[in-house]
């Protein structure tokens, strides 16, 4: 076994996909010769050639649009957007074409593409290099939205995303690209794109999160444990389609729930999860569902970033409010 970082796992996963399926093609700004701004594609152009790992112009719209055309032709394009803040020109292509090709053509044409982008804050970058706008994509039927929280999950979920017959938006939490290392085999094993992962079992409260925020959430669970509270921690991983069965089963057991995400709180994916718990799990609840999220503001610059990002303390305090509610 070898230790891998999350960005290393992405690289490994892309290499495995390129190796096992010759219809896989990578596109992106600086991904070839330069190996990507975060080195996610480091060395891949040397191994797989410049016909399969392509440096492209700065043109995200046509990058995604061409990928739809290629996918319709039976390829599996994996375009990289350098930062999530640059993804918006591609939004038109993802919403108007990628997400609807199967439906429009009644399955005659499909769109097996994976739009990859590093997302989220915590690296002291300006706002459009730091934001978390996953809810925009999670709102769109016909897309899958997947966010890994660990190196192993990045490897397995990305492989499954590339093998999936439908378009996937794969958002990589860049704050933890190199923060943790994990041992696993480069065994080509994918992970399911339709289920949450129970990261830690517990009985007193359910903490739901995804991406880099899993780390604050787990740290909060540790702090709660010091005071005898056993929190169940769920990594949602796939935001669309959403595996509510796992979350509802957990809330039924614990009766209390706090959802944690880095994205702006209003109209975030946490709101959807809370509403669904209200609709389908109201009678299990012993306290209102809590949400910890980014504030309703533009992602701030570095000096204020720490104030914006949900902290372990904010998660603990939201959990305490839920636990103390009567």
């Amino acid at each position: 076994m070898t230790e891998h970082t999350l960005v290393g796992a992405v690289n490994l996963s892309l290499a495995k996909a390129l190796e096992e399926d010759e219809t896989v093609i990578l596109f992106g700004e600086d991904i070839g010769v330069d190996g990507g701004v975060f080195r996610a594609t480091d060395g891949l152009v040397d191994r797989f050639g410049k016909d399969r790992v392509l440096d492209t112009p700065l043109a995200e719209g046509v990058l995604a649009g061409m990928s739809v055309g290629l996918a319709a032709e039976g390829f599996r394009p994996v375009p990289e957007i350098q930062f999530m803040g640059f993804i918006y020109p591609a939004l038109e292509q993802m919403i108007s074409h990628a997400s609807r090709l199967r439906n429009r053509t009644r399955g005659r044409l499909t769109c097996p593409m994976v739009l990859r982008a590093p997302y989220g804050g915590g690296i002291h970058a300006p706002e459009h290099h730091s934001e978390s706008t996953e809810a925009m994509f999670a709102h769109i039927p016909g897309l899958r939205v997947v966010i890994p929280s660990s190196p192993r999950r990045a490897y397995g979920l990305l492989l499954s995303a590339i093998r999936d017959p439908d378009p996937v938006v794969f958002l990589e939490p860049k704050r933890i690209y190199r923060a943790v290392r994990e041992d696993f085999e480069d065994d080509g094993e994918g992970m399911p794109l339709d289920s949450c992962f129970i990261q830690r079992e517990g009985t007193d409260i359910t903490l739901v999160s995804w991406g880099a925020m899993m780390h604050e959430t787990l740290a909060a669970a540790d702090q709660l444990a010091e005071h005898g509270t056993r929190a169940e921690v769920i990594d949602v991983a796939t935001l669309r389609p959403l595996d509510m069965d796992t979350i509802l089963a957990s809330v039924e057991k614990t009766g209390r729930c706090v959802i944690v995400h880095e994205a702006v709180r209003s109209n975030g994916v946490g709101a959807e999860i809370a509403a669904r718990i209200g609709e389908d799990g109201l009678l299990s609840l012993l306290a209102p569902v809590g949400r910890v999220g980014g504030y309703d503001t533009i992602m701030p610059l570095a000096r204020l970033e720490g104030r914006y990002m949900p902290s372990t303390e904010r998660v603990v305090s939201a959990a305490r409010r839920a636990l103390e509610f009567e």
Binding site: G61, G69, A72, N103, R108
Partner: protein
């Protein structure tokens, strides 16, 4: 760089060429054989009669969604189709019924899609703008203006990657020519020498805005110059001229010389969509093109002057075409409504 103009405007800004005279002793010169002319006549007439019927059915409330008719532009798609190889791909915009019929799609399936029924090409989920036929290499109409440019560039990339000699003809209009994704596509297609012919169907109006009011350089075939993409302009009311220009453009791509821009000057007789009263142009302007430059009348005159067919024979073709269209219209109305359960099908492969 081989940009050159080979046509006059079919609209109003330049005088139309002298009216063609029928009945002279020597047959008029054309690069097409009598058989080809007959084939083009039938193909264009099918599109026109189909569109007339679709317009009628839309007016009767039988067609939902929008409906953009191709009447007046028939020579463009018919000429290009005649220049295509068997495996070449086609992708276009929302004014797409003509492209579907020209590519050999069944008029019944197209009409049933317009009426939103189960037997439509997209089983009632695509409608007028979103039909596809993989077996005909037809990659759809697309409702978003400019979309075909980047998608078609992707299809061309697939062909280049596979190393085959197939070309993707990518249609869009004079309105789409101002979209950013068109320029992004041009750059990539030129950078990677992709086999794509961008066919700009310049029908003079982007919805209600004349090309001269929206576009700084109205010679749209020059749009590729900055990227080193050769361009040519041709008369879109003359099916043989379109075919010959398309042959040249497609040949350029097939020889792996990279992309090509073909601007085809044409004119749409109807409004942008069925709900457009077309107040941005005069009735005289439309009537002038209809009476002097109609692409179907042009071929009709060539056929008669050349002695290939007489009025009676051409009327017989019209009857056959009308029968096909009537059958399609009946089919489109009789096909069952989509099952409500279809609301949730084909969203993802598995939900």
């Amino acid at each position: 760089m081989t940009s050159k103009s080979a046509a006059s405007e079919p609209g109003t800004s330049k005088p139309a060429p002298a009216k063609r005279k029928a009945g002279v002793s020597a047959p008029p010169k054309t690069g097409a054989t009598p058989e080809e002319l007959l084939e083009y006549f039938r193909a264009m007439l099918l599109i026109r009669r189909f569109e007339e019927k679709a317009g009628q059915m839309y007016g009767m409330g039988l067609i939902g969604g929008f409906c953009h008719l191709y009447i007046g532009q028939e020579a463009v798609v018919t000429g290009v189709q005649a220049a295509l190889g068997e495996n070449d791909a086609i992708i276009t915009t929302y004014r797409d019924h003509g492209h579907m019929l020209a590519s050999g799609m069944d008029p019944r399936g197209v009409m049933a899609e317009l009426t939103g029924r189960r037997d439509g090409y997209s089983r009632g989920k695509g409608g007028s703008m979103h039909m596809f036929a993989r077996e005909r290499n037809f990659y759809g109409g697309h409702g978003i203006v400019g979309a075909s440019a980047s998608l078609g560039t992707g299809i061309a990339f697939a062909n280049r990657y596979r190393g085959n000699d197939q070309v993707c003809v990518t249609y869009f209009g004079d309105g789409a020519a101002n979209q950013g994704q068109v320029f992004e596509s041009f750059n990539m297609a030129a950078l990677w020498s992709l086999p794509v012919v961008y066919i700009i169907e310049n029908n003079q109006y982007a919805m209600g805005t004349a090309v001269t009011r929206s576009t700084a350089q109205t010679k749209l075939y020059k749009r590729g110059e900055a990227f080193g993409i050769p361009g040519q302009q041709t008369d879109g009311m003359d099916v043989v001229a379109v075919r010959d220009a398309a042959r040249k453009a497609i040949g350029h791509c097939r020889k792996k010389k990279g992309p090509y821009v073909l601007e085809v000057l044409t004119y749409r007789y109807r409004g942008h969509s069925m709900s457009d009263p077309a107040k941005y142009r005069t009735r005289e302007e439309v009537n002038k093109v209809r009476s002097e430059r109609d692409p179907i009348d042009h071929v009709r005159e060539l056929l008669i002057a050349g002695g290939t067919a007489d009025e009676a024979a051409l009327k017989e073709i019209d009857r056959e075409v009308k029968a096909l269209v009537t059958e399609a219209a009946d089919f489109g109305q009789q096909s069952p409504e989509p099952d409500p359960a279809e609301l949730y099908t084909d969203v993802l492969m598995t939900l």
